[in-house]
Amino acid sequence: MSAEVEEMLKRFQNVKNIIGIVIADYDGIPIKTTLENVQSVHLACHMHLLTEKARQVILDLDATNEFVSMRMRTSYFEMILMPSDNYFIVVLQNPGD
């Protein structure tokens, strides 16, 4: 399984607009990353907090609904956050437009 993950990471890394990918575990500690260590730990920590809050917000607004993913577009890049059961993935990309 780990070989598939590596292969997918390599494939996505070569896509033109992608700046970096961070895969972090349940506690927000990065397990696989294509960015520098300090940066990815920082990023993963913030994204972890955000997933928790976003989950709460969606649940508060509608108890039957569920938070799936979030795209944050900033001036310089775009972050896509996608949580899953045991981990979450953050992708940073250049929006291109």
């Binding site: 994204m47 907090l49 577009r73």
Partner: protein, 101 residues
């Protein structure tokens, strides 16, 4: 502040028509400073709930996370995807627009 907002809303009425005619569920425009709902296509209580949770809480949190990672950066817009629909949140200086589709 509210008069400025009302002017903006009146000027953009055509845009609003177009947006609501597409595949959207509705929209909420809220005032940044007071958190009041300026215009909405929902009923007032749910609109206020949306503003309170989504606009103020979540968008504020994302903005501070973005600034924390890079102080010169700032949030342009936010798209939150849920099972049933998607929230598009666009914070500006004076107001925040949220569209649900």
């Amino acid at each position: 502040m509210n008069r400025v907002l009302e002017d903006v809303i009146n000027k953009n009425a055509a845009n609003t028509e177009r947006i609501t005619a597409e595949n959207t569920l509705g929209y909420v425009v809220s005032d940044n400073t007071s958190g009041n709902v300026a215009a909405t296509s929902f009923d007032n209580t749910s609109a206020q709930g949306i503003v309170k949770h989504m606009n103020i809480l979540l968008a504020g949190l994302v903005q501070s996370a973005v600034r924390d990672l890079d102080p010169s950066n700032s949030l342009c817009y936010l798209r939150v995807l849920t099972r049933k629909f998607e929230y598009l949140v666009a914070p500006e200086e004076l107001f925040t627009i949220t569209v649900i589709q």
